[in-house]
Symmetry: C2
């Protein structure tokens, strides 16, 4: 009865605001960004939307008229299941910085014409800080021109650097991948009876959340990384080498997890440090190959003389959907759905955020936050979640992160590899 | 009845040859090398072995007296299940080149003393070409000194380069990982609406089996890599760039899978090619960082000017047991068990190999081959399994490789990450 009542209330809302939804994906993908898309699509249809349209390649594609009716692709339940298991952005993405209306009002006029043409009542945009800026600008402009269209942000980023949300969908799956493969690399590194140091480079240019997640490899069968380096703590070579030396007295194989964004006190990234003559590649370019892990491995080899190896976990961190966390998939779905409900409740200019209720048992809910406040801000790992020597995570971090990586959603394997859902079978 | 008879026959054999088994692991690990260990252990115990001992860190560790009674660690069934899912070599490994008896007979005398001390009836050694050389030398020496001890090789290598076996355990799991993550990377690379080329570097210094396996990403939802480069085909920059250019006219995102061992007609590895002055790292060392994928990405960027990125799949290829192929795990187990039975049947100086019976349905059996013939040989990808232009795999390769990557064995997830079995809880 109350659900029916709720549904009818929503329908009334639709009549006021237009019967169709428009959804886009923006910025770098995650393993679960498509689960948010599934959440938006299914919730909107459930609530009575006539059409749910997808913008291809985000706002940038939309401006070129690239728009698709998702009913054609997603009406089947199996399609939704595959969508949840498909990495990368199903709709395509962009890195488009919205101009202000003062700079270029034509962009706004064009977008609102498209919204009118497709009878759009609400626009959902799944993305990170920059995408929240887009939503903030669109909703502000909408208010100015008295548009009834609602603009809602749906958070995603593996970097976990959005404020006003406990964490961001996408982080936990990257964290689960990192913790799992670090554990496998740690096993691998013990194979020979000789002293060695392995340095794994982990994504995160500004915030160290993902490198911190490597600590989740720890358990009764694994020590986890011996040293964790984050951008939040200035790198000091002497203290670092002293710690490596101390660890080498204790154990054969020392493992270091380093954020790609580690920098010295004067703000220089380790990956930009090099000898007096910068190395160039075969074509005379400054080599971009000299990464943080390579730098650290060379530093250790020079100082301590032991065998070292550098590993970059690479782009797999954001696309290894075969190892996505079930918790993350569910949360991504729910922030998508919550965004739709927020629009139907008449909200605009907000983001559906995750709010933690408790750690034991882990419980969360969604809430709405002001998208303007989220845009262009970055959340760092709190210093008190890093040990005093700056090279390990505390129990507080584990209490925060461990619940997020729970559960799995097995891929649908076809011919030995995971099946994905793709737009236009491309 | 016949099984009982068989068992009693084996028991008689035991009485003749000593009641204990010794097993070791050697060379680089694979995701399923521990499944072979499980096969050796369980079969030997089933057949009535008093003790199954493990050499720690292979022959090298054994020479230092590092030996462990596996009953203590593996008697529990749950331990066996975890062992099958644990990457790296459970017993530890070595890269030890056995001297000839003429060079150093003391090594042989010492080993045979240890065998006598532990009443060893058979030695099983799980490894690649070099390890088969060790088995060949030990069995030849054993015959010379009239030892009743049997020496049996159990194949493993991700490189799939052993002759006289249809394929090697470990290859298929690496292949499944490569095909899966290549598929995810291909999805990821389509995310923006711009021309780009992604080059993924895949293990295989001499034989291109693993790079070839990237073709298994192909399916109705994925084109697979657009170009595959193997060490078997000499690299020609002009033809390569022409093919990239042709592909770029057809599609936005071009994907290249390159074996780390790709070389030019004069035998120079691409990763060793560089400008007139070899790049050095911050410490003045010749940079080992300039890999094959980096070289190719730079080559393309210089010639075609488009966005490129280089990805190394790294050590995960040999240790990602979270994505092991069930077929591979079973086969690894069975070649281990077959090695034990071969010893009990009185064989020595042989390797238990995999023999394919049919592709549809995929069926295989094990057979014994002369380990002397396997040692120090390398099996290359047949030229007729590579397309005429040298940049793709033919249907014959798919028919060979596709059955091998079937099935999964889910990790046992504890606290969100796979649980492993470790010796001495280290």
């Amino acid at each position: 009865m109350s659900i029916l009542h709720d549904y009818q209330k929503k329908r009334k809302c639709f009549v006021k605001m237009g019967m169709n939804f428009l959804v886009g994906q923006s910025g770098g993908p995650t393993a679960v960004i498509n689960s948010s898309l599934a959440g938006v699509y299914e919730t909107a249809k459930e609530m009575g939307a006539d059409h749910v349209y997808g913008m291809q390649y985000g706002i940038e594609g939309l401006l070129k008229g690239q728009i698709v009716d998702l009913d054609e692709a997603l009406a089947d339940e199996m399609a939704i299941e595959l969508l949840k298991r498909t990495p990368s952005s199903y709709l395509g993405s962009c890195r488009y910085k919205m101009p202000s209306p003062e700079q270029n009002e034509d962009v706004y006029k064009k977008l609102f014409e498209i919204f009118a043409q497709y009878e759009i009542g609400a626009v959902l945009y799944i993305g990170g800080n920059d995408s929240m800026d887009t939503i903030a600008r669109l909703s502000a402009y909408g208010s100015r021109v008295n548009s009834p269209i609602r603009f809602i942000g749906v958070p995603k980023t593996i970097d976990n650097d959005l404020i006003l949300t406990d964490h961001t969908p996408g982080f936990a799956s990257a964290a689960k991948f990192i913790a799992t493969v670090m554990k496998e690399v740690i096993r691998d590194s013990t194979v020979y009876d000789l002293k060695s140091v392995t340095v794994a480079e982990i994504m995160g240019r500004h915030a160290g959340w993902l490198a911190a997640a490597s600590s989740l490899a720890k358990g009764s069968d694994c020590d986890g990384p011996d040293i964790i380096l984050l951008p939040e703590v200035p790198f000091e070579a002497d203290r670092f080498l002293a710690e490596v030396r101390r660890l080498q007295d204790e154990k054969q194989s020392v493992i270091i997890a380093a954020s790609e964004g580690v920098k010295t006190a004067d703000g220089t990234y380790l990956c930009d440090l090099s000898g007096s003559e910068a190395p160039v590649d075969a074509f005379g370019h400054k080599a971009a190959l000299s990464g943080t892990s390579r730098y650290l491995a060379d530093l250790i080899h020079t100082a301590l003389g032991c065998k070292t190896r550098a590993i970059e976990l690479s782009t797999l961190q954001r696309c290894a959907s075969h190892l996505a966390a079930r918790t993350d998939i569910s949360e991504a779905y729910r922030v998508g759905g919550a965004g739709v409900l927020a629009a139907l409740d008449g909200h605009t200019g907000c983001m559906s955020a995750l709010k933690r209720i408790s750690n034991h048992p882990y419980q969360f809910t969604t809430e709405l936050v002001d998208v303007q406040k989220v845009a262009n801000q970055e959340k760092m790992v709190p210093r008190e979640w890093i040990t005093e020597n700056g090279m390990q995570m505390t129990a507080e971090f584990e209490a925060y992160a461990r619940p997020l990586i729970q559960g799995e959603l097995n891929p649908v394997f076809v011919n030995g590899v995971p099946r994905h859902l793709t737009l236009n079978n491309k």
